[in-house]
């Protein structure tokens, strides 16, 4: 299967020893029960393709930032982009972070086809995971295989971002028992070089607008791996929103990252592009080249994908064929389209790679840390990259 990607190596026979080693480094979920989440092979990406991916990410980051700034203050657009009402006041009240820094911890997911065509699928600007896989496992595995890894810079970028934000607490739900989320915040804390406490969101409570931890100590600056749209669902969401609005709590990523997070923003960018609004010629060229036609209504003639504006891990994704018939839907993730509106996006081709687990589709993630592209995340799975996909490291093949 010739293509831009090359799969290197064969799985080592002593997998358990390698899994244990990765666990020591901080990646403790390479194996889950009987399933191999980590594939012990490496995908090599040509240096030119990586260069283009980095440029595309930087350009799209500016384009989406511009759109987010345009949306701020327009409540009718908040509604159409699926942003829950509980967040509207804080979006209007709180100052917008500087350009390019609405979220200092984000990840693009790209469909890179077998012949190297890059298309943006989504931006996870609020609570991306895969950090440990990308920042810890990938550089280590690439070094071992003699491949270059742009991911080496990730830890220093996190240190720079957190040096500005200076959270006193990092939180996730089920801290200590949920391996992936706990491991993610622990790795971020370690890489930040700061003295930050890790806590469980479920222990936090709001006391008349002040967030408090289990012992009742106030929390004023917090990094939370807690999706902001869930404030509309959780019992304590409104009180948490009040704590943020009243200035008692500064949250990271900041509240405005929800505008970047909603997949509705891609529909807004595409709409502005079609209408010839907001963007200059250079930006329009990037939108046309790297983004997919996206709408909040299925207006396609060919095949398309539908997904919740706040869907995660492939949950809620449905693939429709050329005549609009449902071809495939995600069965594993939570279907967030029960709660949030849906966007419709033209289908894009994912490169197919031959791995030890069979022929899989490769989804290419690119982390944006402190406003800069740095760090590839490879995931291999079916047509929909869902909860049951595998992590496969991506390295960069030097030019010959």
């Amino acid at each position: 299967m010739p293509g831009v990607f090359e799969v290197l190596g064969r799985p080592e026979p002593d997998r358990d020893a390698r899994v244990a080693l990765l666990k020591e480094l901080g990646f403790g979920w390479a194996d889950l029960e009987d399933e191999a989440y980590w594939l012990d092979q490496i995908v090599a990406m040509p240096a030119e393709l990586y260069g283009e991916l980095e440029t595309a990410s930087a350009r799209l980051w500016r384009i989406l930032d511009k759109a987010a700034r345009y949306v701020v203050g327009k409540r009718e657009l908040y509604g159409l982009l699926g942003i829950p009402e509980v967040l509207w006041d804080m979006l209007d009240l709180l100052p917008l972070p500087p350009e390019g820094l609405i979220s200092r911890y984000a990840r693009f997911d790209f469909a890179v086809s077998g012949d190297g065509e890059i298309k943006l699928l989504e931006l996870n600007a609020d609570t991306p995971t895969g950090y440990v896989e990308a920042a810890i496992a990938t550089p280590w595995l690439c070094r071992e295989a003699g491949l270059a890894s742009p991911n080496e810079r990730m830890a220093s970028r996190v240190a720079a971002a957190w040096g500005e934000e200076r959270p006193e607490v990092a939180a996730c739900v089920h801290y200590g028992t949920h391996l992936e989320d706990s491991g993610t915040i622990e790795a971020l804390v370690r890489h930040s070089g700061l003295d930050v406490r890790c806590v469980d969101c479920l222990d936090l409570w709001v006391d008349d607008g002040v967030l408090r931890d289990r012992d009742g100590a106030p929390v004023h600056r917090m990094f939370a791996l807690y999706p902001k749209e869930w404030m509309a669902v959780d019992e304590g969401g409104e009180a948490l929103a009040y704590a943020i609005e009243s200035g008692n709590l500064t949250l990271f990523n900041p509240p405005h990252s929800i505008i970047l997070q909603t997949k509705g923003l891609q529909a807004a960018v595409w709409g502005l592009y079609e209408l010839g609004l907001l963007y200059d010629a250079e930006e329009r060229e990037a939108i046309g080249r790297y983004m997919l036609p996206t709408y909040n209504k299925p207006v396609f003639e060919g095949s398309f994908v539908s997904k919740s504006m706040f869907g995660r891990e492939g949950g809620s994704v449905r693939l429709f064929g050329p005549r609009g018939e449902l071809e495939l839907e995600d069965e594993d993730g939570y279907d967030a389209s029960e709660l949030f509106p849906v966007v419709y996006q033209k289908r894009a081709e994912l490169a197919r790679i031959a791995t030890s687990a069979g022929e899989l589709h490769l989804l290419t993630g690119m982390f944006m840390l402190n406003g800069e592209p740095c760090g590839l995340l490879g995931r291999a799975g079916g047509l929909i990259t869902g909860n049951t996909s595998h992590f496969i490291p991506i390295g960069v093949k030097e030019q010959e």
Binding site: E35, W230, D234, K297
Partner: protein, 234 residues
Amino acid sequence: MKWEERPDEPAKFKFLTKDGKPLRILSTSLGIALLANAALGSVSFAADGDAGDAEGDQPKLVEWSTEAVKSYFNPAVDWGLPDLDETTDGNAAESAPTPTPTPGTVTQGSTIVINNGSSGFGWDDLLLYHLLFNQGSAYSSSSWTSSHTTYYEGTTKPYKEKSFTSETFQNKPVAGSVVRPKTTSRSGSVTRRSSKVTSSNPGGIGGTSSALSASSRSSSAKSSGSRSSGGFGG
């Protein structure tokens, strides 16, 4: 086809593709909202180079003004109605010579109709009419009808004006106010709770949502495994 590529063509063509079909985005609510926002002037179209038009800030006459009005009109004069707050301050004249025009308010920079020109009917006349008909108080439909009995056409049934309360025009939730329930028109009332909840209990942040995101439709080992159940992967 995009706007800036054919700037001379009529606006309607800008909403059509090359083959004459309407842009897809215009079939969506989001597209209409974006266009409406653009029409309200909060975004400039791609080809617009000089959005800041200096002449746009100047007061100008409506196009059907008479010759007498045109000769009388001087754009340098402040044609805005006096702002009561400023006149009571007493120092507005020295400190703020010309207020900046803002959209939606009728001050300097808006279109001016001069009423004290040839028609003979101006603001002072209007004030006089108001003093006569409303006896110096603010206009109120109930005080007018209480002293001026009128009848429904062709009947002897007196006209009874509608009455309004402070809740009638309440279009946003006000804490503590009593409103009628929307699900029934017969009886009952709802007292609105405080507009913001300011406290919560442990488990309130992430409790419901993590249970939801763990409730996947699949029973595969992976989704019940510890990597993903109840977590918030992005």
